[in-house]
Symmetry: C2
Subunit: 261 residues, 2 copies
Amino acid sequence: MLAARPERPRDTVRSSSARVFRLLDAFNSAAKGLSLTEMSRRSGLPLTTVHRFAHELRRLGVLECDPDGHYRIGLRLWEIAAHSPRGVGLREAAMPFLEDLYEATHENVQLAVRDAHDVVYIEHIAGRRAVGVRTQVGLRFPLHATGVGLVLLAFADEALQDEVMNAPLAGFTPKTIQDPSLLRRKLADVRQQGFAVSDRQVTMDALSVAAPIRDAEDAVVAAVSLVVTANVSPTAIAPAVVAAGRGISRVLRNAGMVLER
Amino acid sequence: MLAARPERPRDTVRSSSARVFRLLDAFNSAAKGLSLTEMSRRSGLPLTTVHRFAHELRRLGVLECDPDGHYRIGLRLWEIAAHSPRGVGLREAAMPFLEDLYEATHENVQLAVRDAHDVVYIEHIAGRRAVGVRTQVGLRFPLHATGVGLVLLAFADEALQDEVMNAPLAGFTPKTIQDPSLLRRKLADVRQQGFAVSDRQVTMDALSVAAPIRDAEDAVVAAVSLVVTANVSPTAIAPAVVAAGRGISRVLRNAGMVLER
DNA sequence: GGCGCTCTTCCGTTAGGCGGAAGGGTGAAT
DNA sequence: ATTCACCCTTCCGCCTAACGGAAGAGCGCC
């Protein structure tokens, strides 16, 4: 008699952990803290569920809550994340070299890894004087446009390269490579030269030079780059960037760090 | 007939989220990745439960797993943590100033917040030439010994100060303050001077000078410090540290950041 | 081949999760 | 004062997803 169908799996996984992390994901691009209702809206979880989770997570220190009921990502989560090899582990190894690079140039220094089809920025150093760049720790960006992305793509599996080529390549400026065969040739150049140049492919006022970072098993697991104003010669700064990449790779090798997936 | 008692709450909370984070906590002080069995042992959760969680968390990207079955904290968790105001948010605001401090001195620069009775290091910059310090991003340390700790304690609630005083004060060197009344006087000095000096209280070869960082509501929410060899004069470096603290506070104020708990 | 180790699958039980509904609190608009 | 709009909180019955012991599979090692 017209019983409503079970109608189970709306579109979502019904495990408890998946819900918790769906809730936590609601905090990306949340400048300020979120109220319970906002969390509910962003995550698509029922308010009651959010209420239950939020209180529990607060009790655990995973979320923090200011007096007027706005929740934020808490220090506890940050501490757990500090044990992430590809995040903080890599950063610790790389920092002295990024430091030197910054001090020598006073330009934007960036450290990034790949996740799926994105670059994820792990660290960046920028003085107040350097060219304005919109990168931020934790930010994602498509692989084909940036210097670090080109490096990470050039040394990735062919399967992954194909996937990226077959998807539409977003354009940011007139100089962004959007043609797959052009990109393929570019990647070959990167592999041969040992560094990548992204010339005004993200903004028209900046170019970046990036070099690979290898782990203890010699796999390219990260990239370091220098972003400078577009009038600087890439070949002038490439040696320093490549040297930094080598230095960081050496530290990873000596520490026996393996960061492959 | 002799039914075994329910015997419910061994010592642990039985919520799903609490278990997940108990599992994730198993990763602290885990240099390398953990196997399922190791996770089970460290967390005290039954192997089957760990098995279920680990697979689910891996599916979610919260954990990563290398081919031989060793799990690590994944990039997804790190990305979520990148939205933590007291972690990455603070770091972003402070970085240029830490940078300047480092460049001017080439000594160890540290940024820390307080959590309960501990200092938690959010950032540190150390060249290869600086005095060896064992701090690390994400590390905890007692409040009463370090420079940053003294600052954070000096400007904390009286209630919290009392709690710290009433607990035994761990000693690290002969110069570590372990007497509550001495500590109380020290804290008064810190408040009056506007900076703290920890002279050989952690190791006999180093001293640190720390200054407070205030958020948009003028609450002391963090501290910045410089750790140098014990023969450097604290008063010589204090102005630079205090200036950095002021600079960072200004950025927080302009950004309207409120980091009180 | 037996032993110790770890990972995986199975499955019956149940407690913890779920979320609609209703209640309370606050502030702004009328 | 009354209404409205929001947001947070509590309650409670249903039920499913989580639980974990037990047994089995894979893998070196002595």
